[in-house]
């Protein structure tokens, strides 16, 4: 397990406190999945348990001391369906909203996480503000923050997801903890023995034969094997059963989502039609002169010239399925633009690439995507521009160009990508 150590002297003998953190591969993948489905940053809460385990002293130099292992276990995550769901632009946390999101899981919160694209591996100012408040409101002194950062090569062939677990409430030297992902590790099939240790002792042979039979059933199969296989079968059956339930729920969810989308389209259409109707009537009324000299022909022609400039049309909620045209790439920046180095164009993972020139103070163009449009689960109200826009923390440059739909030049974060070969650390990460 990864660890960071800090030594303290409590007067009774030194003890070493080691931090270890873990998250299951399934929870980790799930966060990646939810992030992939978001067209902006994604965030949520980490639920789990923090334990302290005392371990036996491990070496001569530690005789007379105990070792405490502080274990941070992330059990699962509670994704937020949209940004700003429990805080505002200034970073003020709304406890009511927080409770509504967490419900009875509030007591299991051990931290929160954020997924951002093309940004520094450090907390933004707003994130720090939010973190302090969450610490206070939730009453968790050692609240952790897991930051995911996503970067891609210029041609989008290779992508990297970096993650760091912070303990912002600790001093500078103890802030980062290694996050391990427990796994099968060694499948240990090498541990099977294909031969027995040679032994000519008759005593040995007779004793192990006589008492060893306990372990085998009449067919010569080890009883343990049957027993453990039963456990495995029962478990797999249950996995299958719950999987079926999940599948059903996914279909139901899909269906209702589609119905909701259709309703929204229908409403927009109706509104647009009635707005047109309004205008047509007004035009007609305007054409109708007080002396009733309405000329059918001219009024007819003026009616047909009604321009459709109406309320913003609800963007189509269809996912672009046709992939003959490559997905929308982001802005082309002039090659020598200084911001090209500081500000990689956000890309990949389905992002429409709408950087908003936000310095953490709020959204600029409030760009809800008008090109690639998706609806996150449970995300309501597409008409509310702000909540949907990509929000990129730590943007330094103001020289952002409005996104254009060209497919050519795509600037990644040049210095940190690995043209030939080794996955070494990007500088400054």
């Amino acid at each position: 397990m990864g660890y960071s150590a800090c030594a303290k002297d409590c007067g009774l003998g030194a003890y070493v406190s080691i931090m270890a953190a873990s998250i299951s591969g399934y929870t980790f993948s799930s966060v990646c999945y939810h992030s992939a489905n978001s067209n902006s940053d994604h965030e949520g809460f980490l639920l789990g348990e923090v334990r302290q385990e005392e371990t036996l002293s491990i070496s001569d130099s530690h005789i007379g001391s105990s070792e405490f292992l502080n274990v941070i276990e992330v059990h699962n995550h509670e994704p937020c369906t949209q940004l700003f769901s429990f805080y505002d632009y200034a970073g003020n946390v709304n406890e009511e909203n927080l409770n509504r999101i967490l419900k009875d899981r509030r007591k299991n919160v051990i931290g929160w996480y954020r997924f951002r694209r093309n940004t520094q591996q450090q907390m933004s100012f707003r994130e720090q503000v939010i973190h302090k408040q969450l610490t206070h409101i939730l009453g968790i002194p050692d609240l952790v923050f897991l930051l995911f950062s996503f970067i891609s090569t210029a041609n989008s062939s290779t992508h990297a997801l970096e993650y760091v677990l912070f303990r912002p409430n600790r001093n500078k030297y103890n802030q980062r903890i290694s996050l391990s992902i427990p796994n099968l590790g060694n499948t240990s099939q090498q541990e099977y023995k294909v031969s027995s240790v040679p032994n000519t002792s008759k005593n040995y042979t007779s004793v192990i034969k006589e008492h060893g039979t306990e372990f085998f059933d009449k067919d010569g199969v080890m009883k343990d094997i049957r027993a453990i296989f039963q456990v495995y079968s029962a478990l797999q059956e249950r996995v299958q059963a719950v999987c079926c339930e999940v599948d059903q729920s996914e279909r139901v969810k899909e269906k209702i989502q589609e119905e909701v989308n259709k309703l929204k389209e229908e409403i927009t259409l109706r509104k647009r039609n009635s707005a047109e109707e309004e205008r047509r009537l007004q035009e007609a009324a305007a054409v109708m002169l007080p002396d009733n000299s309405a000329l059918p022909d001219s009024s007819h022609s003026s009616l047909t010239q009604v321009v459709l400039s109406g309320p913003s049309v609800e963007p189509s909620l269809e996912r672009p399925v046709n992939s003959s045209s490559p997905p929308i790439y982001s802005t082309t920046l002039p090659p020598d633009s200084p911001s090209a180095i500081l500000l990689p164009r956000p890309q990949a993972v389905g992002s429409p690439g709408h950087p908003s020139p936000s310095l953490g103070l709020g959204n600029g163009d409030g760009s809800s995507s008008d090109s690639l449009n998706r609806q996150a689960t449970g995300q309501e109200d597409q008409e509310d521009d702000d909540e949907d826009s990509s929000e990129y923390e730590n943007l330094v440059s103001e020289q952002l160009q409005p996104p254009s739909l060209t497919e050519t030049v795509l600037l990644g974060r040049p210095a940190t990508l690995w043209p030939d070969g080794d996955a070494h650390s990007p500088p400054g990460s």
Partner: protein, 221 residues
């Protein structure tokens, strides 16, 4: 002709990542089911269009063997693509963990020379609901692991010259390995499924409310 881009649906991405993160001691592999899309596509049956494998603790770039394997696949299907997931990487200094993925094909630089890789753009495309096929793939993993273990054990078990102690030892190895699989894979998988079910239930309630609200709104127009 090289593939111009690969779209990986996010639920398929989820399954690949689950698989890659299942073990850090060996490479895992799987096949990608999908379809080729051309400008004037009508429906076409799904088929195997690529392969993926993991690089635990190693660089994401394909090895010479990987490039050669990919080239072999391409002989059968020019459009076959290769994906690699690199995981269990950590920068000890910054405590930064990393998961990378890349897409590639192989090309022969000159006649008779070794193959080299060409990079293929890959995009993970949002897919709000998890498809049935993906769910089934996910729950297949523990089954495959158990099967592999049984196959190995059966071969060992058929060795008749082993003394009882050795047989007991081997039986225990099987038991131990199955226990590892259950606690490392089946357990967390089951937990994730339960959490997903819970999340979906809440989403459905929310969506129902929205549907009612919208229905009313529509009726009033």
């Amino acid at each position: 002709m090289a593939v111009s881009a690969v779209h990986l649906e996010s639920d398929a991405f989820l399954v690949c990542m689950n698989h890659a993160l299942s073990t850090e001691k060996e490479e895992v592999m799987g096949l990608c089911i999908g379809e080729h899309r051309l400008a004037d596509m009508t429906g076409r049956p799904m088929r195997v269009v690529g392969w993926y494998h993991s690089h635990p603790h190693i660089t994401v770039w394909p090895s010479h063997v990987d490039v050669r394997t990919q080239a072999m696949y391409q002989m059968m299907d020019q459009g076959f693509v290769g994906l690699i997931f690199s995981c269990f990487i950590e920068d000890k200094n910054t405590k930064t963990g990393r998961v990378l993925y890349t897409c590639f094909q192989s090309v022969q630089a000159q006649k008779g020379s070794e193959y080299e890789r060409i990079e293929i753009p890959i995009h993970v495309v949002p897919h709000e609901a998890i498809g049935k096929v993906c769910l089934e793939s996910a729950v297949e993993l523990p089954r495959i692991l158990c099967q592999e273990e049984q196959d190995t054990y059966r071969r060992i078990h058929s060795l008749t010259h082993l003394d009882p102690i050795t047989k007991i030892h081997n039986g225990s190895v099987f038991t131990k390995n199955l226990c590892s699989q259950m606690s490392a894979i089946s357990g967390p998988l089951l937990q994730w499924l339960e959490d997903r079910l819970e999340l979906n239930k809440h989403s459905i309630i929310k969506l129902q409310k929205e549907k009612e609200r919208l229905t009313q709104e529509l009726a009033s127009l």
